[in-house]
């Protein structure tokens, strides 16, 4: 039986080749976040990110962000080669400041959401999403 590397990993009840964040990617995420905030201080209250603890499929991970009163929310996949995922802008007539999308994750990493509030301040939340192939449920 001829196996590709991906098959072999799945066969062995699960493994993640990319569970260690490359430092370069982390640095890229920090830079991208700094570009969004202009280097301003970032608070933690008033923003929620919802993401699965363990991705069922790393190629399409559903996430949603909620930041009441935000004018803009940017989402970053800190461990992806290109961390920027999306920026959602909310006009003054928006009924709520909630957005959801699906993102592709290269491996276990933090997904970070940063919101710019109406007063120009920034808040941030993050959630660790584990990417695994699994296979050992009792």
């Amino acid at each position: 039986m001829k196996l590709t590397r991906r098959d072999a990993l799945a066969l062995g009840l699960g493994a993640t080749a990319a569970s260690f964040l490359p430092f370069r990617a982390m640095a890229a995420a920090d830079e991208a976040i700094a570009a969004f905030t202009g280097g301003a201080a970032v608070g933690a209250d008033g923003i929620t990110i919802t993401a699965p603890e363990i991705a069922e499929n790393g190629n399409t991970v559903p996430i949603s962000v909620d930041a009441p009163g935000a004018v803009s929310i940017a989402v970053f996949a800190a461990g992806n080669p290109t961390p920027g995922v999306a920026t959602f802008n909310f006009g003054p007539l928006a009924g709520s400041q909630v957005a959801s999308t699906r993102i592709r994750l290269a491996g276990t990493q933090d997904v970070v959401a940063v919101a710019k509030m109406a007063d120009g301040s920034f808040v941030q939340a993050s959630s660790t999403v584990k990417v695994t192939i699994g296979g050992c449920g009792g």
């Binding site: 039986m1 062995g12 009840l13 993640t16 192939i133 699994g134 449920g137 009792g138």
Partner: protein, 563 residues
């Protein structure tokens, strides 16, 4: 009256008679001396609502031997807390006497000797008797099944779970949740669910495409004049831990915020008592109870823990009712003015030689098994060793399976998944085909043979170890560590992923594994579609036949540090 010591001696003498069939009689006599059905059922009916919980039966219609784990480590905040307490420490924590019936039911030590004294446990015909007795006290007692019901035996595999469905219906289950059920494939699950006289609950099961609820999240019951909401929570890591291709289009997850929403919804709809019928696993439920308010009772499942007392977290009582039909939990609640004022609980051990089988359910079970009886009862070999599965790192059943994989498939290294289901076989007993299927019966059994590098094997072990020892329970999947044959390793459970596993050693040469070198690896239960190889039960059966009598040496190849 015969003392326990006398019985142990009698038991030893009887051990020579197993083959002659003297075994069951001795154990029945012993168990009946020590216990009575009335004692087991004794309960002062309290309050206005009674719940009856059974979970993780794994298709065991008949009484079984089932040895509880010796090693069941907790990490992070769960270290040293139940269920991560075993053996003498467990007995000390709950005031259980060494050598007592409870010690046999709940701990691992002296298992073989105590099994001879107290006999097999479980059997859904005995369970039926217990349920009847509880219903005699409280006619509207609510029976809830935590799932992992339709998989785990020869007859369940052959009948696609129908034997279990028929028997559970006869028991009068009123709601269930799920895990292994989905490994029958989505079409079969849908067919059964449509036939069930009760709801198949899963608040955390969603349509993967539209992210909308796919199953009923909860059901309201009026019991004793009280509105009781039962919310279902299926196993969160279904498509990760089991083959997602068997139920495409479904998404699971812990979904804590969803559970909080549903709790709010049922409270708004008038629920005075909120019960979560959960297949999360105990540590996940402990965290959920701490983070979500408003749940009165969590009926836990998945991790197969039996705990004699409720564990109280943030006003939520967590109940752990064991597995394989060994126990039923009875919970009496006094609910007044929308609040649970009193909780009274008993973990009822189902000693099969003490509790009289219900004749109707016994007849139904025999009818379900009849078409398979000849195949199941065929003797394949014999064992000199106690065969058991539970334990974080190994068990003799999986050691035997790994030996079979290495020898029958000519491999350097064998991998067997860390399942927690599977009945035990006592030393001196015959191994029947039914025994083999009790440890292997499932719908993706193909035994693969492939090549892997030392580096890949390390990644696999690290990945599985993180599923078990991640300090955040929401990242734990609730299985045990993958069992390894032909290879030893050292594990530090307190380290982060990538640093736990060291000193991986090929046992046949005594050399450390070379990350760049390729090894022949045999295993089973791949979650990949299209995995090729013979079913694992054939591999094990051939191996046992060849051996005649199997003997499994104590496994010392895993060195655990900081446990």
């Amino acid at each position: 009256m015969i003392s326990r010591r006398d019985f142990l001696q009698v038991g030893m003498a009887a051990s020579a008679l197993y083959g002659a069939g003297g075994f069951g009689n001795w154990s029945r006599l012993a168990a009946q001396q020590a216990l009575t059905q009335d004692q087991l059922l004794q309960f002062d009916t309290t309050g206005n609502v009674t719940l009856m919980h059974i979970t993780d039966v794994h298709a065991q219609l008949k009484p079984v031997w089932f040895r509880e784990p010796e090693i069941n480590l907790g990490v992070g905040g769960a270290k040293g807390l139940p269920p991560h307490v075993t053996g003498a420490a467990f007995r000390a924590m709950f005031g259980i006497e060494d050598g007592s019936a409870d010690a046999y039911a709940l701990t691992y030590d002296d298992f073989t000797a105590l099994a001879q004294e107290y006999g097999r446990m479980g059997g859904l015909d005995r369970v039926a008797t217990v349920l009847k007795a509880i219903r005699a006290d409280r006619p509207d007692a609510l029976l809830l099944d935590g799932g992992d019901t339709w998989q785990g035996s020869y007859s369940a595999l052959q009948s696609n779970g129908q034997d279990m469905v028929n028997v559970m219906n006869a028991l009068g289950v009123e709601a269930m949740t799920s895990h292994w059920e989905f490994t029958l494939g989505i079409d079969r699950v849908t067919e059964i669910v449509e036939s069930l006289p009760f709801p198949f609950l899963g608040a955390n099961i969603f349509d993967a495409e539209w992210n909308e609820p796919a199953y009923e999240p909860y059901k309201m019951f009026e019991r004793g004049g009280v509105q009781v909401a039962v919310i279902g929570q299926a196993f969160p890591y279904m498509p990760i831990a089991n083959p997602g291709w068997m139920f495409p289009g479904l998404s699971f997850g812990v979904r804590q915020e969803r559970i909080a929403e549903v709790v709010q919804e049922v409270r708004d709809n008038g629920a005075e008592c909120v019960v979560l019928l959960s297949h999360n696993g105990f540590d996940v439920d402990r965290k959920l109870a701490a983070d979500v308010d408003g749940i009165d009772i969590i009926l836990t499942g998945h991790t197969h823990d039996a705990i004699p007392e409720p564990v109280l977290v943030n006003k939520t009582h967590l109940i752990a009712s064991g597995s394989h039909g060994k126990f039923i939990s009875r919970i009496d609640l006094d609910v007044q003015g929308g609040e649970v004022k009193e909780v009274k609980h008993k973990l009822i051990p189902i000693f099969s030689d003490v509790i009289t089988p219900d004749p109707d359910v016994a007849a139904l079970i025999d009818a379900e098994r009849a078409p398979h009886e000849a195949a199941m009862s065929e003797v394949i070999g014999k064992t000199d060793s106690l065969l058991y599965r539970r334990g974080n790192f190994n068990g003799t059943w999986d050691d035997l399976i790994c030996n079979a994989l290495i020898e029958e498939r000519e491999a350097d290294i064998a991998l067997s998944p860390g399942f927690r289901w599977g009945a035990s076989v006592l030393p001196g007993q015959d191994i029947t085909r039914e025994d083999i299927f009790n440890a292997t019966a499932m719908s993706y059994p193909n035994a693969y043979r492939s090549e892997m590098t030392g580096e890949t094997l390390h990644l696999i072990l690290e990945d599985v170890a993180d599923n078990l020892f991640n300090p955040d329970p929401y990242y734990q999947q609730g299985g045990d560590m993958v069992r390894v044959g032909g290879m030893g390793y050292r594990i530090d459970v307190t380290k982060p992923q990538g640093e736990r596993i060291t000193e991986m050693t090929l046992l046949k040469s005594g050399e450390l594994l070379d990350p760049a070198k390729t090894y022949v690896v045999a295993g089973w239960a791949s979650v990949n579609e299209g995995t090729e190889g013979p079913p694992i039960w054939d591999v094990v059966e051939n191996h046992i036949k060849r051996q005649g009598t199997v003997s499994v040496e104590p496994n010392k190849s895993v060195n655990v540090v900081n446990g």
